[in-house]
């Protein structure tokens, strides 16, 4: 006798896999920790202060919003903590407290809660906040200026800014010589200037792979983002190696790895289907290098992700063909 129950179909969802939102959030925080801890090791209490204040203030802004709007407390889902962590990872290791509190307000309240909370935000909240803070108080986000009191034993200039500057003044600088002064091991091991959670290439790679294996982020977005960055940088370098850095340099400096694994993959602002995810990731990667190489800013990940967040609803319209036939 066959089991007749096997043929009874109920409404979706068919099965709960046991995961819950808080679990996803804490996994993301866990994956981010290696990169953050290495920066705290290099920069000490100031960096710890930035991270602690960013995560806690993000959570408190969300708590404050839910209290004022008389809705249920949502900080238990860990989403606010993740936003605070992502925002901290973008910041220099030394930053004024008010900048962090203002930034997390923009991220949590303006970037997420006013759209209805988790799942409703059209932009990555941390990236949006960083962009607003960046155009408002750019000086405070200058990595080189933030760490003037540190003797670190590696080049204390933001690699992307130096490479771009050299490319603009080829009569004075040799771009390839500057790029070769940052060796691969240094870039992978966090011996470079950048955001708190953006410099430790190896840590970000491990964190990203962990999130992919756990099914928390989609590999399609991360891989296509990295491919977009690498391929575009390769084209630029092939066109004029005297002005433009190569793919490896672009992949391991700035916010590239942070963007690929933690920022572009944010659930609400990224597509859900296979092809849209590939287009979304690749577009972000291509735009990143376009902004870096021919735009005004040395770093392009922030604005690239915001722009592809904008096209996300359009990409979501590319859907698999429905099964069956409509008569």
């Amino acid at each position: 006798m066959y089991n007749r129950k096997k043929f009874i179909v109920s409404h979706a969802p068919f099965w709960h896999d046991g995961s819950w939102i808080a679990q996803r959030s804490y996994n993301i925080l866990l994956a981010a920790l290696p990169a953050v801890i290495l920066s705290i090791y290099y920069y000490g209490l100031p960096a710890l202060g930035v991270v602690a204040l960013s995560v806690s203030s993000a959570m408190l802004w969300e708590l404050g919003f839910t209290r004022v709007s008389k809705t249920a407390d949502t900080i238990g889902d860990g989403s606010a903590a993740v936003i605070g962590m992502m925002f901290a990872m973008l910041l220099p290791p030394v930053a004024p407290w008010w900048l962090i509190v203002a930034g997390t307000f923009l991220a949590v309240v303006i970037g997420k809660m006013i759209y209805g909370g988790i799942g409703g935000n059209p932009f990555n909240p941390a990236v949006l906040a960083y962009a607003i803070i960046g155009v408002s108080w750019w000086d405070y986000l200058n990595f080189d200026a933030a760490i003037v009191n540190y003797d670190l034993g590696f080049i204390t200039m933001f690699p992307l800014a130096l490479a771009k500057h050299a490319g603009m003044h080829t009569d004075l600088f040799n771009v390839q010589q500057i790029i070769s002064s940052y060796n691969l091991t240094d870039l992978l091991m966090g011996r470079q200037v950048g955001g708190i959670g953006a410099t430790f290439g190896l840590g970000l790679l491990l964190g990203g792979i962990y999130l992919i294996i756990r099914g928390i982020i989609r590999w399609e977005i991360s891989i296509s983002f990295l491919a977009g960055v690498g391929f575009t940088a390769l084209l630029f370098q092939a066109a004029d190696p005297g002005r433009y850095a190569g793919p490896l340099f672009h992949l391991l400096t700035g916010y590239t790895l942070l963007g690929a694994f933690f920022l572009a993959t944010e659930d609400s602002s990224s597509p859900v289907n296979f092809l849209p995810m590939l287009i979304y990731g690749a577009a972000a990667g291509i735009l990143t290098v376009l902004i870096r190489n021919i735009g005004a800013y040395p770093e392009g990940v922030i604005f690239a992700i915001l722009v592809v967040n904008l096209i996300n609803p359009l990409l979501d319209k590319i859907r698999p063909k429905a099964l069956g036939k409509v008569t």
Binding site: A22, I75, D144, V148, H169
Partner: protein
């Protein structure tokens, strides 16, 4: 995990991190070193990251080679103390700490930008070392 437990955990994390953050910015915040390692000068042409440590130690300059006034002082005045002139024609506070208002004449004293250009480029040219082109110091 029940939502109640999730909330309690979140409250705990928020409070602990808030205290940690506040302590890092107040009681545990370190003092900037008395002698700077590097100084970022802002300018319309791009920031200049000046390596104070290399100039003072590796190149063997004495403090008064740059901090030229007063000539013998235990504590060096920063360049900004004298070469930034307050708006409204007032005298810099640093001048009035030692001099009366009627003793100070700033005629011929260059403003900060001119003072830096003259000091840096002049010294680099005299010693035949160090950059003199704009874009070699003024980086993005």
């Amino acid at each position: 995990m029940s939502s109640n437990k999730e909330l309690k955990l979140a409250y705990g994390i928020a409070v602990v991190l808030l205290v940690m953050g506040m302590l890092s910015y107040t009681a545990l915040s370190g003092e900037a070193p008395e002698e700077p390692l590097r100084i970022m000068y802002r300018g319309a042409a791009g920031g200049v990251l000046f390596n104070h440590q290399i100039h003072s130690y590796d190149y063997g300059f004495s403090c008064t080679d740059c901090h030229h006034h007063p000539e013998a002082a235990e504590e060096m005045l920063s360049c900004n103390a004298c070469h930034i002139f307050p708006e409204g024609g007032e005298l810099p506070v640093a001048c009035l700490e030692c001099h009366g208002a009627d003793e100070v004449d700033l005629t011929g004293v260059p403003n900060k930008t001119d003072a830096f250009h003259s000091q840096c480029i002049g010294c680099h040219e005299d010693s035949g070392a160090g950059p003199v082109e704009c874009a070699t110091c003024h980086i993005l």
